[in-house]
């Protein structure tokens, strides 16, 4: 049994990257995730791995592109403004089918915003962010343990699908300390020799990494190939967690930090006799539409709780497709709702829907 350690989310993430065999890390300081670069700057050289503070997030993501294109396990992390800067590179990586792990320790925005946690980057993460038709696999941790676990999972999924994976965390989970355990890890064997640019021997054709397909017919062919891949991802990689849904009459839908707050709110509401459950998407792409739609046949109302102005609620509504009312409760600007706030809002909504 691996021992438990008390760690910050950002440090657990960094340690997990080392244990997952991350060959190279490129990053640029930004609060609230600078601990990742600091931890790796200290630890990576001990393992003869590459760690580099780049001159910008634009450079970071393109260094990741180069290293990933040469077949190496590569990661970058940042927070919201830095992730915005990376969008061109992320789009290129998705287009060129390069595996990598990108972590966004989300802070509240827009603009420079604040360094307090937020979930305002949901749309950017799951609906595109960069240009063109592509998808990232998006994982949403709700604990320090998950910030570590999702590094292993993220790298594996990236390799499996040759696609960038984004971990969408937030400033609270990145900064808080919790116990975390590093389980033994079996790294899947992946053969990258058919595409990685490691130098062309006489025995094979040249490998090249590109997202350029100048003829529309070839571009369309490539788009369709990518769509096939995203379909496969949607079919196989949906992950979510359900708590108290078996007898639920109402449902909280929340990811990451807001799911943590909802868990407390659920306990309070249940004590008051409200039969409410919690549905937590773990993958934000692919989104668990099908299961939410099933649950819509069972519950009377869903409440999406987010640290933004209402972004994921649009996906909940898509999933529910009008079967039951889908409401939204959120806080912005790095402000946190208390569990009591949420329960109060829930009670008001129940009364309102009852009256109607």
């Amino acid at each position: 049994m691996a021992e438990y350690k008390l760690m910050k989310g950002n440090e657990a993430l960094a340690e997990a990257a080392i244990q997952a065999g991350c060959d190279a890390y490129f990053g640029y300081p930004i609060t609230p995730q600078s601990e990742v670069l600091e931890y790796l700057a200290r630890e990576m050289p001990k393992y003869d791995r590459i760690v580099m503070q780049a001159e910008s997030e634009v450079a970071s993501i393109n260094m990741v592109y180069g290293a990933a294109g040469a077949g190496f396990r590569t990661m970058t992390t940042s927070s919201s403004p830095g992730i915005s800067l990376m969008q061109e590179g992320i789009s290129y990586m998705a287009g060129a089918e390069l595996p990598c792990l990108i972590v966004n320790v989300n802070r509240a925005g827009p603009g420079l915003g604040t360094i307090q946690p937020g979930q305002g980057d949901y749309f950017q993460s799951v609906k595109g962010g960069g240009h063109g038709d592509y998808k990232l696999i998006v994982l949403a941790p709700a604990s320090v343990q998950e910030m570590a676990d999702m590094v292993f999972l993220g790298f594996d999924l990236a390799d499996k699908y040759r696609n960038p994976v984004l971990m969408l965390s937030d400033g609270a989970i990145g900064q808080m300390m919790e116990k975390v355990q590093f389980k033994p890890y079996d790294r899947p064997v992946v053969d990258k020799s058919s595409w990685a640019t490691t130098g062309k021997p006489k025995t094979r054709k040249r490998n090249y990494i590109t997202s350029l397909f100048i003829q529309p017919e070839r571009m369309e062919e490539h788009n369709l190939k990518l769509e096939e891949k995203f379909k496969l991802i949607r079919e196989n990689e949906v992950r979510f967690e359900e708590i108290n849904t078996a007898d639920a009459e109402y449902l909280f839908v929340a990811y990451g930090l807001s799911a943590r707050i909802c868990q407390k709110a659920m306990d309070i509401a249940r004590e008051k006799g409200i039969r409410i459950g919690l549905f937590r998407p773990i993958t934000l792409y692919p989104y668990p539409y099908a299961r939410l739609n099933e649950l819509a046949s069972q519950v009377r109302m869903m409440l999406s709780v987010e640290l933004n102005s209402g972004q994921m609620v649009e996906d909940v509504r898509l999933a529910v497709n009008g079967k039951v009312p889908v409401e939204f409760y959120g806080k912005m600007g790095g402000m946190m709702p208390t569990p009591e706030d949420i329960v109060h809002h829930l009670e008001t909504l129940i009364q309102f829907h009852h009256a109607n």
Binding site: M52, N62, M63, Y65, T74, Y92, G199, T210
Partner: protein, 276 residues
């Protein structure tokens, strides 16, 4: 009109392929085997095709095809991987030096080069270029300076000559408005990370020879692991200069070299090159 007995070539490609009967003639010159045997899309008289060939000749002569990885960012030469028979990566506009850093840091024993235009290197990507050189990345930067944005049809570049007409400086580059052309090589040579900086042109037989020599040096210096090599090449872009290839060659001799004088700007100290 072809007669019935004549066998028609299947494709234009085949029709245009120069024939060579090795048994009947002594081959005195051939295209390097490190190049893909296809037609290039470059305009007639364009420097890109020639410089591609020079790089691939050096790779062939040094027998480093298996150890060489190229990076070509957006610009007319983004298709370089269609022509160079080596492993390559396309890069976003301006980001070649960051991509090359990622490759070289993970594979320090390989030869890594970027092939960048002046819009790419001197405008949108000057930050990545400067920092890569400042870190002394052991890469070769081939800098194709044709004083315009070729691929997007001839807009002004940071290297456009004073008074030079482009589609976005229709009355000629106004230095009081846009500043003077950036002398990238002189600027970058200031950085301790740069070990070899030279500016050449390929508009004459001698220039081609000197350029090849510069590329040979630069590939060899990569073995030193002492820093970045920057080979700037004044490139002809007859299409966007609205000139014939011959006029373009003359324009380099008469105008371009006034702003961009040719020759070595920084060479490694003798001691450092001993074991190269």
């Amino acid at each position: 009109m072809p007669t019935e007995e004549q066998v028609l070539p299947e494709t234009l490609q085949e029709l245009n392929k120069p024939e060579c009967h090795d048994e009947e003639y002594d081959m005195v010159y051939h295209k390097p085997h490190t190049m893909v045997d296809v037609h290039m899309h470059y305009c007639p008289g364009c420097a890109h095709s020639l410089v591609h060939k020079l790089i691939m000749e050096v790779v062939e002569e040094m027998d480093i095809q298996e150890q060489t990885i190229g990076v070509a960012p957006v610009g007319c030469s983004v298709f370089a991987y269609d022509y160079m028979d080596i492993d390559m990566q396309e890069a976003a506009h301006g980001r070649a030096c960051a991509v090359a850093t990622g490759i070289k840091r993970l594979m320090p024993e390989k030869y890594v080069f970027t092939y960048q235009g002046d819009g790419d290197l001197a405008a949108i990507g000057i930050g990545e270029t400067l920092h890569a050189i400042n870190r002394g990345e052991n890469i070769l930067i081939v800098f194709m300076n044709n004083a315009v944005y070729g691929m997007t049809s001839g807009q002004m570049a940071p290297t456009t000559l004073p008074g030079m007409h482009t589609t976005t400086s229709p009355d000629g580059r106004d230095v009081s408005y846009y500043g003077a052309p950036i002398k990238v090589s002189e600027l970058m040579a200031q950085l301790p990370g740069a070990i070899y900086v030279t500016r050449q042109a390929v508009n004459s037989a001698n220039g081609v020879r000197r350029t090849k020599k510069a590329l040979q040096n630069a590939f060899k210096y990569q073995q030193l692991k002492k820093g970045t090599c920057l080979v700037e090449i004044i490139g002809n872009c007859p299409s966007n200069w609205k000139m014939t290839p011959l006029e373009a060659s003359k324009f380099i001799d008469e105008e371009m070299v006034k702003t961009f004088p040719l020759g070595d700007i920084k060479v490694p100290k003798a001691a450092e090159t001993n074991n190269a």
